[in-house]
Amino acid sequence: MTGGSNGMIPAGDLDAAQRLRRTIQHTLGRSLHIRHLDAGSCNGCDSEIAALLNPYHDIQRLGIDFVASPRHADLLLVTGTMTRNLEQAAKRTYEAMPEPRLVVATGACAISGGVFAGAYAGRDGIGEVLPVDVRIPGCPPRPEALIHGLLVAVGRLAPFDPAA
């Protein structure tokens, strides 16, 4: 696994978590601010996102924090199919974010509607309403997969250039 080509810090002998910390430092020069948005999830994906904050995963040690306001967020971490009842609020949340902004579709529902695809009350994934940068598969994605997905997302902001 070498990184540079897909915008990520090369793996070397770093694990995903360490790479994420370095990439955030390199790209943003500060911590990564995430706004979580439940757009119609079953709570499974959100529970795993919350688990990132427990002392075992402790993603704050990597320079990541969840913020209350979308105005302070670099990245929108979206779960759920995008229910029609929430569409308006979801769009407003996205619009309130400063640029550059990233949208990460978290879990099968956010990617494609998951098991809820084809229902009258939701979209088949958040991509029908928001521009998606990175997709993290899983139902729900494990915390490790979430960390990897965030690494990929941050790499999109300013691709790592080994020569720089």
């Binding site: 979580h36 948005l37 439940d38 757009a39 119609g40 999830s41 079953c42 709570n43 499974g44 994906c45 959100d46 529970s47 795993e48 996102i49 919350a50 688990a51 904050l53 427990n54 002392p55 075992y56 995963h57 969840f66 209350a68 306001s69 759920g80 199919t81 229910t83 029609r84 009842n85 929430l86 569409e87 308006q88 609020a89 979801a90 949340t93 998951g114 098991v115 809820f116 084809g118 229902a119 009258y120 009350a121 939701g122 139902c139 729900p140 494990r142």
Partner: protein, 501 residues
């Protein structure tokens, strides 16, 4: 169990339900039905009440045009949301309802669109308008309105809360939910029992065993299937592990409501360990995909079973220490005590379930009242507290977590070897229906299921404990301080996903 359906005139429905409840019965649910797929020519509404002698099922037939009946919510407040839901989803009007606003389909949805009618295709998405929510507010000198949500700070589910407050004191709370309504009940119609399972269990991602179990039990009753002994015992094990990781997490969330960081970390760590045990046992951190109609989809992992006893001893000791540290913290207990009070009469009238009921003195527990899986062979001790406040809900959860640990150990002792799944024994007749209930971490979740042709689903309704308890939260808040709302809310720790479906 196959309780018979009693047909009743629409005007008699409310008084009959009220009478059964006055005699000690408990409201289970209302379910709106389109009878045209099972040989009828109109709609119907069925009320289910749990009585001493089993479930009473009362069904009133309604015409296709202007289907309506006199509301029962004034006599049976627990039916308040059920009636509004049937109105939104089937167009069945409860005449004289105290709150005729939209519930499930918000105001933007076109009037007349009733998705659970059989002539509406599953994926028909009508164009939405731009009508807005009209909150119920209290007005008067010095009273101000505080809107919060639907999108909140923190990693939590969406809901809109409208407080009418005077100073810091809440006079009234209007909760607006169903932002995560996904259309689950329509989506499973026409699917086979097997293909609907992954959808039903994802009604809530942290109560997947509860919902899968209620569903499996309903399917097994419909198909007259007896499941193997190993599966019966394993189901208890899984249900108690689900209760355990939820209760441990919820105890931590209650501490988050008062910012008591040492306990948040400690319990967060314990919950993570429990999720990893789930993973070792079933391959899924939330135990999804393991319960299936007929028994289990797969046997429990022998490696997972082997590490369970020692891990549980360790977790039990650490949990006891964490709970002690919280109870000894005067600052925390001071915030817990007397906050978010719900008296026993109020809890009973509103139809509180689970922890919310047992912390207000109501002895309600389906594991003992209507035993399923192997609970009938276990001696489940149900915890009841009488305080009705945040502290009581804390104590109930803490004791139930320990009881769950004890039950898991007992299952490990008793669970026999052998097959873990039986094939479904029969194809049910079109129109046959069953009701099943499971005592989940938040209380009784009830599932109503009717068969269509060839082993498919005609109609499914899921009424989770969270759905039942939301009106109790709204009643617990007035009189408290606005900043105590997060704590009160966390003391119930209801789920939006299974409420909204």
């Amino acid at each position: 169990m196959a309780e018979p359906v009693e047909h009743i005139a629409p005007v008699a429905l409310g008084p009959r339900v009220a009478e059964l409840i006055a005699d000690g019965g408990h409201f289970v649910m209302l379910v709106g039905l389109d009878e045209r797929s099972v040989g009828g020519d109109g709609l119907a509404i069925e009320a289910v009440v749990a009585t001493q002698s089993g479930l009473a099922r009362l069904r009133a037939q309604l015409p296709l045009t202007n289907p309506s009946y006199p509301t029962m919510s004034r006599m049976v407040p627990a039916a308040h949301w059920d009636e509004r839901e049937a109105k939104d989803l089937l167009g069945i009007v409860p005449i004289g309802h105290p709150d005729p606003r939209r519930l499930v389909l918000h105001e933007q949805w076109p009037s007349g669109y009733a998705p659970l009618r059989k002539d509406v295709p599953v994926d028909r998405q009508p164009a939405l308008g731009d009508h807005h929510f009209v909150p119920f507010e209290v007005h008067g000198e010095g009273v101000y309105q505080l809107p919060v949500g639907p999108i909140h700070a923190g990693v939590i589910e969406p809901g809109h809360f409208r407080f009418s407050a005077i100073g810091e004191r809440v006079l009234h709370l209007d909760a607006r939910l169903f932002f995560v309504h996904r259309g689950l009940e329509k989506l499973v119609e026409g699917r086979t029992f097997a293909r609907a399972l992954p959808i039903v269990e994802r009604a809530c991602g942290v109560c997947t065993v509860t919902h899968a179990l209620a569903y499996a039990q309903a399917v097994e009753s419909l198909t007259r299937t007896t499941i193997p002994d190993r599966a019966r015992w394993a189901r208890v094990l899984l249900a108690e592990l689900e209760r355990l990781y939820n209760h441990v997490g919820d105890l931590g969330n209650m501490c988050a409501g008062v910012g008591f960081q040492p306990a948040i970390s400690r319990l967060g760590w314990l919950r993570e360990r429990l999720l990893q045990l789930n993973d070792a046992l079933t391959g899924h951190r939330y135990l999804t995909g393991i319960v299936a109609p007929g028994g289990l989809a797969a046997d429990l992992s022998p490696d997972g079973l082997a590490i369970l006893p020692a891990a549980l001893d360790d977790i039990g000791a650490e949990l006891a220490a964490a709970v002690r540290s919280i109870i000894r913290s005067e600052g925390v207990m001071d915030r817990f005590q007397g906050t978010g009070l719900v008296g026993p009469a109020e809890a009973r009238t509103l139809g509180a379930l689970g922890v919310a009921a047992r912390a207000s003195g109501l002895l309600l527990d389906l594991r003992a009242d209507r035993p399923y899986a192997a609970y009938g062979e276990l001696d489940v001790s149900t915890t009841v507290f009488h305080g009705g406040d945040v502290a009581a809900r804390f104590h109930v959860r803490a004791q139930e977590a320990h009881e769950a640990l004890r039950l898991v150990r007992e299952v490990l002792h008793e669970m026999p070897d052998g097959p873990f799944r039986a094939p479904l024994a029969a194809v049910p007749a079109t129109g046959a229906s069953e009701v099943a209930g499971v005592e989940g971490p938040r209380g009784a979740s009830w599932l109503w299921l009717r068969a269509g042709p060839d082993g498919t689903i005609d109609r499914l309704r899921l009424r989770s404990a969270s759905f039942a308890n939301w009106p109790v939260v709204a009643a617990a808040v007035p009189g408290n301080l606005v900043p105590d709302f997060p704590l009160i809310n966390k003391s119930f720790e209801l789920c939006y996903a299974c409420t909204d479906r």
